[in-house]
């Protein structure tokens, strides 16, 4: 097209005979019109949308409105490296039928979401404003619809707030705790059909991260669908019929059964995800088909997702690596562990796939948690002495662990944030993380544990030998392997390590009750925080934090159970957390984060071993737009979510040959 004006230039040459000038003028105007048309279409290319061939028949017959009416007025435009093609089926394996929720996780369609740099951006909403950190206004997309074609607007938010969260039958405990700031409920307003406003009198720093979460806080519902099951809107007799038919005890139970956006097990429930569930549970195979009303388009105006269908096959988790190695999936990362890497790499040619290694986002792959709330008085005193924790940390040969178990591909570090986080500092990673037996022994002697028995094991003040019983949930052979290596190096410190494998629930209950001295588990859940992330993992805020369960419980239950943090350092961390919540600027927040990270690493509350362990991600050769390297993390990150699977595409010709094989 662009070459045409050039080819017309000979006609405009001055050597033309006079009678061809009208022709020249006409062709010039024609060219000008063409150029104008090109320029115009260039700027408004977003206005001409196209959709998948899959819908061509339905649109032609009138079953589905044309794509321009199915998309919102201003659809979200996806950012991508290569524009893709429509078509194909993505096969994945899941370990349990409950994993239909993984579609919600991978789709990662959120009101606001994290982008690839883990900053929060608008996603479902067109834009949002935050005032003083306490007034949040969301501007929805005009014309956006649910997967069944019904409009998505402020009514869905109003239904949630007034008729679900504040309805005594549906939510007997009231709205979710993340919406309550110091017990104050938000003021929820709907200035117009496409605007929603949540406001509090104090800042709520957890609100946006909760909305962007992997297991999100939903402040909207498909009201047109759920009103059928709500006593306020449905015909009383019809509702009673439905309740009886579904064998539920009450209308509230029926409503709760049907209203499960995260669990995603109801094919009739409308959704905003790129693929909607078509199979009714129970089943061993769940098929998800493209959502005709999905709100995102690619830069060329083609409605996403590219892939027509996603299939989850439910298989026992232990068989998943074997099946992946045989080439039976299109994309898989879940249930694949690093120790499967060699097997998967071996099957690459036979299975037509490639194994990428992403980085795990955990703060530490295997971490030891000395229980600062243990009931054993002698051990409690010893564990609370920072020199003991530092000595234990110095007594771990992380280099050996890295080489032996992770082929040297992991990163030796304490339990702290990863290099991918803007808050990272090598000082935190290396604090007390070297391998120095002499210094460790010196610290222990300094502490007063200098007496040893005949076998060279140190004696505690009350005469017992220093035998640490590390409890584990018994789920990971990796943990046992690492602990064996640690046992050998701690023997040089005169400390004996015993491992007690248990069962997850028993393991947790013992820690919460203070019956255990030390536990082994994975490190930080979020190894890639930013200054905007709440530093809750670095202060005693939850019972689930295995190093200080009772202090965490005290905070969680607002003082009703557990014990108040009675170590000055822990109290200081709580104080800093509060300061972060009250902080107004990014600089203050970053400074507080740095302080907390420094204290946390220096105090060695959790003894980390290695992090940045590679996570195998298997993808068929014909799958495109999947990043080569990335961080694989649950929260934030939604494993594949932040990389937006709706932009993945399959090379049709390759898929066709694969299908015939």
């Amino acid at each position: 097209m662009r070459s045409m004006p050039i080819s017309l230039i000979p006609f405009c040459s001055p050597t033309l005979r006079p009678r061809s000038r009208p022709i020249a003028r006409a062709s010039l105007t024609f060219v000008a019109a063409l150029l104008a048309g090109l320029i115009q279409s260039g700027t408004s290319s977003a206005q001409s949308y196209s959709d998948a061939p899959m819908f061509a028949d339905k649109v032609a017959s009138g079953d589905l409105p044309p794509v321009s009416q199915r998309l919102p007025e201003h659809p979200a435009i996806a950012d991508m490296s290569e524009a893709g093609r429509y078509g194909g089926e993505l096969d994945m394996l899941m370990a349990s039928a409950k994993d239909t929720r993984m579609m919600v996780v991978y789709s990662y369609a959120r009101l606001v979401g994290y982008d690839r740099d883990f900053k929060i951006v608008a996603d479902i909403c067109e834009s949002y404003d935050v005032e003083d950190g306490r007034i949040f206004t969301f501007h929805l997309r005009k014309g956006m619809r649910w997967s069944d074609g019904k409009p998505f607007d402020a009514e869905d938010f109003r239904y949630y707030w007034e008729d679900v969260a504040n309805n005594h039958d549906l939510s007997p405990t009231g709205p979710p705790s993340v919406l309550m700031v110091d017990g104050e409920a938000p003021k929820v307003e709907f200035p117009d059909k496409y605007t929603v406003r949540y406001s509090w009198s104090k800042p709520n720093a957890d609100f946006l991260p909760a909305l962007a979460g992997t297991t999100p806080l939903y402040i909207y519902r498909p009201s047109h669908y759920l009103k059928k099951f709500h006593a306020k809107y449905a015909n009383a007799d019809e509702l009673a019929e439905k309740v009886k038919e579904a064998e539920q005890p009450s209308w509230a139970a029926l409503h709760n059964r049907r209203d499960n956006m995260y669990k995603n097990d109801n094919p009739k429930q409308p959704t905003l995800d790129p693929w909607m569930l078509m199979t009714k549970p129970p089943s061993d195979r769940f098929v998800f088909e493209r959502n005709p009303f999905y709100y995102r388009v690619d830069p060329r105006g083609r409605q996403l997702p590219y892939i027509d269908r996603v299939v989850f096959d439910i298989v026992d988790s232990k068989l998943i690596p074997a099946k992946v190695g045989a080439g039976e999936v299109t994309l898989q990362a879940r249930n694949l562990r690093f120790d499967n890497y060699t097997f998967l790499k071996d099957g690459e040619t036979r299975g037509d796939y490639r194994v990428r290694l992403w980085t795990s986002g955990s703060g530490s792959q295997v971490a030891l948690y000395p229980n600062l709330n243990t009931n054993d008085e002698v051990w409690r005193k010893i564990l609370r002495d920072v020199r003991f924790r530092r000595a234990l940390s110095l007594g771990i040969d992380r280099h050996e662990i890295n080489q032996v178990i992770y082929y040297g591909l992991a990163h030796e570090s304490g339990n702290t944030v990863l290099p991918q986080s803007p808050l990272f500092d090598a000082g935190y990673a290396n604090a007390w993380a070297g391998f120095d037996i002499d210094q460790a022994n010196r610290l222990l002697d300094e502490m007063g544990l200098d007496k040893r028995d005949d076998a060279g094991i140190r004696l505690l003040p009350d005469g017992r030998t220093a035998d640490i019983l590390v409890e584990s949930a018994g789920e990971s052979t990796e943990e046992s392997d690492v602990l064996e290596l640690i046992r050998d190096s701690w023997a040089q410190l005169g400390i004996r390590l015993y491992v007690k494998p248990s069962q997850r629930e028993v393991f947790r209950n013992r820690i919460f009750a203070g019956d255990s001295v030390m536990a082994v588990w994975t490190g930080l859940d979020d190894g890639i925080p930013t200054a905007e992330t709440a530093p809750v993992e670095f202060a005693p805020t939850s019972q689930q934090q295995l190093q200080w369960p009772k202090w965490g419980q005290y905070r969680e239950t607002m003082g009703e159970s557990g014990t108040a943090a009675d170590m000055p350092v822990a109290a200081q961390l709580l104080d800093l957390l509060q300061q972060w919540r009250d902080a107004e600027t990014d600089e203050t927040r970053t400074a507080i984060w740095q302080q907390m990270l420094r204290i946390y690493s220096d105090q060695v509350f959790v003894i980390g071993t290695v992090n940045s362990v590679p996570q195998p991600v298997v993808a068929k050769d014909f799958l495109h737009n999947l990043p080569e390297t990335a961080v694989y993390n649950w929260e934030p990150g939604a494993q594949f979510g932040v990389y937006k699977p709706d932009t993945f595409w399959l090379d049709e010709s390759a898929t066709a040959t694969a299908a015939t094989n």
């Binding site: 349990s96 007997p172 199979t279 026992d316 232990k318 068989l319 947790r508 689930q544």
Partner: protein
């Protein structure tokens, strides 16, 4: 005969009652209940759980009632044919179990057929050609099958089947047929996948059967009437088939009662390893999450199968073996 049958039928009822109590007690034995397991699972995944909501659900599901009350409710429902409600799946139990039962029966029947077909000729051969090379070799193979852990054998055969025959790993059919209606292609796929679980589950069963048949037949072959028959000129084949074998068939018939429930539930480990869509993995999951009604009702179903199976095999044995039929009267 009639009183014998009647007595057997009447004894079944208290047996089932005792079994139901034991099943319920053992399922309830671990601390906590379905909701506490569910809560722990959510928490370990980092999802927040409202304690008040859990209490609310506990009351709704009736899990806050006393042990005896819950037991009474459950047994009462069972007797009326209501198997209860599965918390895990959110569906009535019979809907959850329904589909899987058909495939379980296919696998079980195929396995039992395999066990009989394999152990019968081998048992006879071992007895007739006692201490021969063949006898030793076959016995060795049988014991090898018995000694090898079934899951190990399953994994080896699975890998072998995939690499050599291109059969997809695990499951009872190619994944694309999973929800498709029955057709020849689907049936062929099932057959192609069936032989791995059948061989694995069957191998350990055959060893026992072979030895039993061999021992019984050897006993019979020593007896006087066999010598007499041979002296009188009966052909060896007829001599073998008409008399001693009938006696030696006792364990085959007697085992029916025990074999079916054993194959249905005893194949749990292999089913889990091979990811078969049978009742075994479902039972294991239900027990792990303390999904009381699903686990309890299914176990009661197995108990019923066992008891009825025992009864039927005793009946068959009584028909087959006059010694049992005439029972005490004969010894007097």
């Amino acid at each position: 005969m009639f009183t014998y049958l009647l007595r057997r039928l009447i004894v079944m009822v208290p047996t089932l009652l005792v079994i139901s109590f034991l099943v319920f007690a053992i399922i309830q034995a671990p601390p906590g209940d379905y909701l506490s397991t569910y809560m722990a699972e959510l928490q370990s995944q980092g999802e927040a759980v409202d304690q008040a909501k859990i209490d609310f659900l506990r009351h709704q599901y009736g899990l806050d009632r006393s042990f005896l009350e819950q037991y009474a409710v459950w047994v009462g429902n069972l007797v009326q044919g209501d198997l209860g409600y599965s918390f895990e799946y959110g569906l009535p139990v019979n809907q959850v179990v329904g589909d899987r039962l058909a495939l379980t029966i296919v696998v079980s029947v195929a396995t039992i057929a395999f066990i009989w077909l394999v152990s019968f000729p081998i048992g006879i051969y071992s007895a007739v050609r006692q201490y021969s090379v063949g006898d030793y070799a076959l016995t060795f193979l049988g014991f090898l099958g018995l000694a090898t852990p079934s899951f190990l054998l399953a994994l080896v055969l699975l890998y072998f089947a995939n690499v050599k025959f291109g059969i997809s790993i695990g499951g009872l059919m190619d994944p694309s047929f999973a929800d498709a209606p029955w057709s020849w292609a689907k049936a062929r796929s099932v057959l192609a996948h069936l032989w791995v679980p059948v061989i694995v589950i069957g191998t350990s069963g055959t060893a026992g059967m072979i030895r039993r048949l061999r021992a019984n037949l050897l006993d019979e072959l020593q007896k006087q009437y066999v010598v007499t028959g041979r002296a009188k000129g009966l052909s060896p084949a007829k001599l073998l088939w008409k008399y001693p074998l009938r006696m030696a068939l006792n364990p085959f018939i007697a085992d029916i009662g025990g074999l079916l429930p054993e194959v249905v539930s005893g194949a749990v480990i292999v089913s889990v390893v091979l990811s078969l869509p049978t009742t075994g993995p479902m039972l294991l999951d239900a027990l792990r999450s303390q999904d009381m009604y699903l686990a309890g009702s299914f176990l009661m179903f197995l108990a019923l199968l066992t008891v009825v199976g025992m009864f039927l095999s005793d009946l068959a044995l009584a028909v087959l073996d006059p010694r049992i039929r005439l029972g005490a009267a004969a010894t007097k």
